[in-house]
Symmetry: D2
Subunit: 381 residues, 4 copies
């Protein structure tokens, strides 16, 4: 008999959907001791919330997150709100002894993130931050290759995360679906939203970042408000951000993100160049990993396009058959399965809030560097 | 309030899983009047069936398909058995007035298929054959492009369906998971299993096939039995099949399938060359469609790699956001949604048994042509 | 001191240019005992010939090929004329003891080709047929991989040669630059012009073809004449041709060629699937070879995209540096260098007229099969 | 009758070969008033020089460049020496009224480059710097697209130039073929050798760079000398360099180059993202340009892979037929043709020394920024 674990979800947007889907499906594909129960969904707009809860099978609803956090029948608080609420909810949840699931980025900034970490450490609750891309099978395979030490000394890392959905000046800011363009709700623009993913992946694969030097740009200087189209306000987020990196292990890196790269929809890429081998990934071809091995016979060396759908590839023995791909949503299911397995084994789930805070620290350093037009040493403590 | 539609599923293999998943998820992503209920799952091995039913939430089980077909609380019989059972089950289900869902290929041969069609026509039950690849968004986009008449006169069609999982001579034949290698259970090899998909897609896009000329080959002449490894028996299926085609509209085509194409996992491809434009697809890059438009400015003509994840692309407004792909399993969900919609609108679902029979007729002509080493005119009636 | 070898070239079209270029350049990139001298160019239109000869440095001109063949100061007759002249010129040249270079296809048909072979055998003159694509470094690498026996048993071969330049019905036929559309000058359409390349490559890599079954089509039934635009005549060539193949070693193959594949400019492709490895090539990415090796660690298997520009790759040590590609014209230079080397070593140059005749025999069988709508056993003797 | 233009070439290395080839071939493919004559080749090692001159048909040799520059029968001095000689030779040549051809980078630094510019301006001699990649047809097409203003406002530029040939620590430095690793001969490492190309292309397409912020790294700290393998010396060049850019038009950019990117042979790439369209190029697929046009019908938008081999593409009407690629060496021939045409028309050839100096100024700012760990405004005057 599986152990029930009661979920309380806050937020019913894009991430609310993706997480709901994960809770409903994980046990059909993974053999786990734990089974999530969709206990309660929470958001302020009751009418829309009801539709959402009905659709996904949430057993109850709340319109005040504090009430949800206060409920005894909830084991996990899953935070899918705009970033400006992460801090208060996560701390309240931790204080109540709830397991904390938090969407990325961890918080508005590292100070907030530090508070959260302190709170979860104090009560010792298990926790997870949804850097879901680590659970793309091809990215997990990249990690496996790094762990197998096939690259040797690493010289270079380069990451891009390019989109194009804000080029149109008529896209408004703020509101329910466009809070990512509102600095008050999001904290930052592409840095927190997209580069946080890139940084998380990079530090997972390569190790800690020593120092950064960044440039940011806001191409469209003002936008109307989504919820009040007659009001035009300055745009305070970073539309684009690029930075140079020195890793602690001596490798150097380049990172770039924008929502103004016409033709790039969700192009999250990275490349690692090592002494003996290289790896390259592009989320727009999510089920492939490119791999170059200098150990191959010299006349037959080439970038291998690995179709990451075989049973021996990470996660793929849980899904269909070789040649059949999984999609975006499965990254959340894979992550949830790993977390539920960690509950059983007692091993630390990664990335947790402690790791996510390091990513936040790097984000802060990036934004500070861009502001000061100077290199910044990343201060993790 | 949604109308419940009670499903009785026969077979718990690969397709049994894929369909179960579809029944559970379709209403969370599509706004439909109908809601499938996972009423009963049926298979002969009770112990394994129980595990399966538990996992997917089937409310009851049966070990005799005749009993399932006889139950009054079942609206749909979904046939996921080896091909040699399609005929009897489908006819029995139709006679009982059940909606018939049938995995492809329709039957062991066109004679059987004709019987099935007669049965469903007699009682007028709605029906569907799971040629799921029509619901790959990129393939649906190809159909849309054809419907928009962007290609003009069609000259060429070429299809491949390549896999490599039977090269190893130690792969056994027959049994629960390898019945596709047993001619008695499957009817044929790659022709019914893989080329049926290619033919279905081709006739959907281009129109009826006039005549064919084929070659088949069985590379590994004998294999041990999966359920009795000490017994070695001749292999009677076609390991590979290639054929030339003349379409009724004057286009010519090539088709090929094999399970001996080292390095190809599920490479289901097609290309259409028209007077004004061309289309190219590869299931191993399922979320992309290649499109060449001769109407582009001449110095800027090139094959466009369309990332089929935007809201305006077929089906994609039901899923996530642009740049986020869906996977193999979603083709079944999309198909099911279309069927449930057709129940409401009364429009014919496509492909139904009538269309699948035509594909079966072509498969028969292909096998006959290979046997007779001659061109065969396809006789649809 | 290099030995001079005096060339007499017949024809100043596309191939005349490509060969002239090869004669002028080969000694700058290859260390050879022989040095071609551009002794005489021959064609009927004196004014254009003079311009051509001047441009390329041909030392003299002739307007009658018989006179050229009769000259004592000519060592090599290089035939770049329409196909209907190959027979007479090659035989006359052989009878005069000249080395014979002949553009592909060898002749109008195998009967003519047999006459040519008889003539060159009689006088024992060295000879070459310009199947230049064998000297694409990536194709030569494919041959090397076959020679290294990395594939094991070969199951499949598939070749395409697709172009799109005759879709427009206003393209005329015949004349100086469009004789390839005139059956009287070319013998056949895509079969002799394009598939001859595909067949040559296939038999080089795989071995002899046992039998074929073909379909041909002429999409545009009549065209005006290039040299008399007011006259419209039936088109007698094959616009497209596809055929099935059984190789003598048991492999099966598919071949297709057309000039009606919108968007394909010079897409000469082949793929070989063997037990242990596969190879794939596309002339539109001429400097790459795709290679899949089942011997790679299982989680790291993938198609390698080999950039064939390293010093250890065929021919590339004669050219620039790794990463710097060569182009179309270099295939002729590489071929010429190999021939001149064979003059020194006495080894047979490949492909010579004897091999080219086999390709011609296959072409004839293909056309005959298409006409008779039946399989044909290829009769090489 | 063509006007002869007598070339004096200094240096017989990789570039000496590439230029010699260009001089010999340009008139066979371009209809020009001028014809280069390979008058004299110059280098210090007479024995090797003789072999080189013989191979390429240089009519005479010199072992002292000053003597060459002093010869009255020389019209052009073409400088293919290590970078530390560019300054003295170029100035001497200009003072003698010779046309100056100079390999890139222009000089060891901008100060030297400024001297050269002053000298050529003083005597008004025509001049050219061999940034050959501008004459890759696909890059020229990119420029054409920019000129046609298809992109609208430009947001982003990103360039990489990656190689991997110095990873092995046993590669020596200095000497005839490895002077690029010796800072005394080369001035810098990848910045002058590779990034100079990237910068030249970027400013040609986008306009002037306003400011830069760079990081450089030397991964292998010491290497033996090529000409004295028992001596090990510190490596003073930049093995890798990455920098951020702000363009004067407001676009932001990233640039990176290294010789430590395992698996990248000559991966010179750039991408431009504009409001309405984007462009992407990779020298390892030199004959293709990727183009995304937001003006395409929305469901058919995709990156077009333009095969730049049609007659309407830049330079390609001079070469073969559509689908037939040219290679690395042709970029020099195209450049030379353009220069010889400019002699006739009197239009300024681009890039000349004045433009190359701007690139040099940016290179200097990059190196200075890396040294000072700060942003640098580029000072062109």
């Amino acid at each position: 008999m599986k152990k029930k674990i009661n979920i309380g979800l806050i937020g019913y947007g894009f991430m609310g959907r993706a997480h709901s889907n994960a809770y409903r499906r994980v046990n059909q594909f993974f053999d786990l001791d734990y089974e999530p129960v969709l206990k309660a969904a929470c958001a302020r707009k009751e009418d829309k919330l009801k539709v959402f809860a009905q659709n996904w099978g949430w057993k109850s609803i709340e319109t005040d997150w504090k009430k949800l956090v206060g409920r005894d029948d909830i084991d996990v608080i899953d935070i899918c709100t705009p970033n400006n609420l992460h801090h208060d909810i996560a701390i309240a949840a931790a204080e109540k002894g709830k397991i904390v699931f938090c969407e990325k980025p961890l918080a508005m900034n590292a100070t907030e993130g530090g508070d959260i970490l302190k709170a979860v450490k104090k009560t010792g609750v298990a926790n997870l931050v949804w850097f879901n891309y680590r659970r793309v099978p091809a990215i997990a395979l990249a990690k496996q290759i790094m762990n197998e030490d096939r690259l040797g000394r690493v010289f270079h890392y380069r990451a891009k995360y390019l989109q194009d959905w804000t080029i149109n000046v008529d896209v408004p800011q703020g509101g329910a679906t466009l809070w990512r363009l509102d600095a008050d709700a999001a904290g930052s623009g592409v840095t927190g939203d997209l580069l946080a993913h890139s940084i998380d992946t990079a530090m997972w694969l390569i190790g800690e970042i020593d120092s950064v030097c960044a440039i940011t740009e806001t191409f469209v200087k003002e936008r109307k408000l989504q919820e009040d189209p007659n009001t035009v306000k300055p745009v305070k987020i970073d539309d684009a951000c690029a930075f140079l990196v020195k890793f602690k292990n001596g490798a150097i890196g380049t990172f770039e993100s924008t929502r103004y790269a016409r033709g790039r929809k969700n192009q999250n890429t990275f490349e690692v160049n090592g002494e003996n081998a290289s790896i390259c990934f592009d989320l727009e071809d999510a089920h492939r990993l490119q791999y170059f091995d200098h150990g191959d016979d010299s006349h037959l060396q080439g970038w291998r396009s690995i179709l990451v759908t075989d049973f021996e590839h990470p996660y793929m023995d849980h899904w269909w058959v070789p040649g059949c791909v999984i999609g975006y949503e499965h990254t959340f299911i894979n992550a949830l399965a790993d977390f539920l397995m960690s509950l059983k084994t007692g091993e630390k789930y990664s990335p947790d809030i402690e790791e996510a805070l390091k990513t936040q620290v790097v984000c802060d350093a990036v934004l500070s560097s861009a502001k000061n037009k100077s290199w910044e040493i990343v201060q993790y403590e």
